[in-house]
């Protein structure tokens, strides 16, 4: 893949210079901090802002609640961020003519595509890594010390979830002529996968159930309704299919 290394460096530098990396990282960091803090303070918040005489027993929050909150935040925001970041990755370069400029140099089309995907993967790895690390530190400070390895596994599954939507949008960015069209493909993928996830026997297989997989990893719990290997395999399969289709489409695309 001629030009791959140079393109990866360019993509990462672009993510830094255009402040995409820093903005996404800071937003995820905030989500990571918020999960344990909000979970810890939730009973006090309800007491402080609830109507006078309002009593509700919500129990003492624990690490499971922190993980619920963290997953809800990062997976939902991750899907949205994935669509927003991936929508312009190829379509914008084609619109602006910079794809034609780069591809008239010694850069293969495979190198051009994979460098973009690797840059997306790195941005999400950094952002989700920061969010999880921040959540771990605040959980340690506000609750007790959680085990490290299960949280790393949780982060990896959240990252995989973001990459599913990034890959679908990335395919849209190759197929469509505009970044808005690519975003449409991304949101369509998100809606279709969400709707399919409510089908009883299909739901547990699909990327939408990665949230349950991440929780089971983090808490070291298992459930008969959950098959982490299958759910992860299907997600990896969705990513692979999207990338293969993107490559087939882009290999001979007119620029």
């Amino acid at each position: 893949m001629t030009g791959y290394r140079e393109m990866v460096v360019k993509e990462l530098l672009e993510a830094w210079r255009t402040r995409r990396l820093i903005v996404v990282a800071l937003l995820f960091l905030a989500l990571g901090i918020m999960a344990p803090v909000v979970t810890k303070l939730l009973p006090d918040i309800i007491r402080a802002f609830g109507p006078t005489g309002f009593e509700v027993d919500i129990g003492t929050p624990g690490i499971a609640d922190v993980i619920d909150q963290l997953l809800k935040n990062t997976i939902q925001f991750g899907a949205l961020a994935a669509i927003l970041l991936a929508m312009g990755s190829v379509a914008t370069e084609r619109e602006r003519g910079t794809a034609a400029f780069v591809l008239s140099k010694p850069v293969t089309r495979a190198a051009f595509l994979w460098a973009k995907l690797v840059a997306l993967a790195v941005v999400f790895a950094i952002a989700i890594g920061l969010a999880t690390a921040a959540a771990w530190v605040y959980t340690f400070l506000l609750f007790h010390r959680p085990p490290i390895l299960p949280w790393i596994e949780l982060a990896a599954v959240v990252w995989l979830s973001a990459m599913v939507y990034a890959s679908i949008t990335f395919l849209g960015s190759v197929i469509m002529r505009s970044s808005l069209g690519a975003a449409g493909v991304g949101f369509l993928g998100l809606i279709v996968l969400s709707l399919l996830s409510i089908v009883p026997n299909l739901g547990p297989w699909l990327p939408a159930d990665l949230s349950s997989v991440a929780k089971s990893f983090a808490l070291r719990e298992s459930s008969p309704d959950l098959d982490p290997v299958l759910t992860i395999s299907v997600s990896v399969g969705v990513i692979t299919v999207c990338l293969v289709l993107a490559w087939v489409r882009f290999r001979r695309a007119e620029l």
Binding site: M1, T2, G3, E6, V9, K10, E14, R17, T18, R96, G97, T98, A100, F101, V102, L103, S104, K105, P106, V107, T108, R109, A110, R252, E254, L255
Partner: protein, 355 residues
């Protein structure tokens, strides 16, 4: 004149810079390029001419592998365009391209862009630093080298585009409308630069500025509506296709007399196309000997106060208008004949009512 679609081959024994065989490109129902055969020898400046939509930019995109031919094939410096990734990469090491509307990464500085291109071309370390500096100086961007490209004017982007195209010292340099955004100084510098590059590179210059093409190109191809009209040395084209012309200027305020003169010229067998430009006329001639004898007496009888009469040197623009203009005229006439025939067939009364 060459047959449409078949180029004459440059006589020198230099290797081919590029060759096209039966090169055809369709965009849906639009035929952008129609079976173009072209051989261009290395070491020359080659002009690619044609009106808008002639197929110049399509040809360039096919040469660089950014588009795929519908039929036919292209070889550049002996390599097949459209081959596997590694051959394509080697091909792109040998080509430098300036796009018609150069757009680069706005977040990079001009110097960073050249370093990025240098990295892709495999130029390393101190050599890259030196070459980038020299290139920036050559295209007049040293002072703006460390500014973000987003702040560049279109002329500066065009200069940077020329810089990135020549950085790798390509064997084939393709410049698509390179002077469109340049000021007169930039245009002069670019033409001088092309002259300097002629030793090391074959230059393909696509431009609407025919005087520039005439000044720097040894050979030109003229395309029109996707077809190759001719390919030849500029000097041959001037000899073969550019009719001699006279320029006549009259004192102001004689518009009626000028109109009468134009009508009178239209009746002369030796006179060709007549263009009225301000207070002057440009008269192309079909028979130079007859024109030399009869133009001055005709002007004398016109009663016009003549300010200037001069014989003009034929230009590439004359060749272009002669070749492309005739093609256009012929098609219009054919179209009119077809319409007229259709009207006749549709019935005389209907045609009469319509007229």
């Amino acid at each position: 004149m060459s047959q449409p679609g078949v180029a004459s081959v440059a006589g020198a024994a230099a290797p081919l810079a590029f060759a096209t065989r039966g090169l055809t490109k369709r965009f849906g129902s639009v035929l952008a390029l129609d079976h173009v055969d072209l051989d261009v020898r290395a070491g020359i400046v080659f002009g690619l001419l044609g009106p808008n939509g002639a197929g110049k930019t399509t040809t360039i995109r096919l040469l660089t592998g950014l588009a795929t031919p519908t039929e036919g094939h292209v070889t550049v410096t002996g390599l097949d365009v459209g081959s596997s990734g590694s051959v394509q990469a080697e091909l792109h090491r040998r080509i430098g391209v300036l796009d018609q509307e150069p757009r680069y990464y706005g977040w990079m500085t001009g110097r960073e862009l050249l370093h990025f291109v240098g990295d892709l071309l495999g130029i390393e370390g101190a050599d890259l630093k030196t070459r980038a500096g020299e290139t920036l100086e050559r295209v007049g961007l040293t002072d703006a080298a460390d500014r973000r490209i987003a702040t560049y004017s279109s002329g500066m982007r065009q200069r940077l585009g020329i810089g990135q195209a020549i950085l790798g010292r390509p064997k084939l340099l393709i410049l698509d409308e390179p002077v469109s955004s340049l000021d007169p100084e930039g245009r002069r510098d670019l033409l001088a630069l092309i002259g300097d590059l002629r030793e090391a590179s074959t230059v393909v210059l696509s431009s609407h500025v025919l005087s520039d093409v005439e000044r720097v190109c040894e050979r030109v191809a003229i395309l029109d509506r996707g077809r190759l009209i001719t390919e030849a040395a500029v000097s041959d084209l001037l000899d073969r296709f550019a009719p001699p012309a006279y320029r006549v200027e009259v004192d102001p305020g004689q518009e009626a007399g000028v109109r009468q003169l134009v009508e009178a010229l239209g009746r002369q067998a030796w006179a060709g196309r007549v263009q009225v430009e301000g207070h002057g006329l440009r008269i192309q001639v079909r028979d130079p000997d007859a024109a030399a004898l009869r133009l001055v007496p005709l002007l004398g009888t016109s009663g016009l106060r003549i300010a200037l009469i001069e014989r003009e040197r034929p230009t590439l623009e004359d060749v272009f208008l002669e070749l492309v203009g005739h093609e256009v005229d012929a098609e219009l006439e054919a179209g009119e004949r077809a319409e007229s025939k259709a009207d006749d067939e549709a019935g005389g009364s209907a045609a009469g009512a319509a007229s």
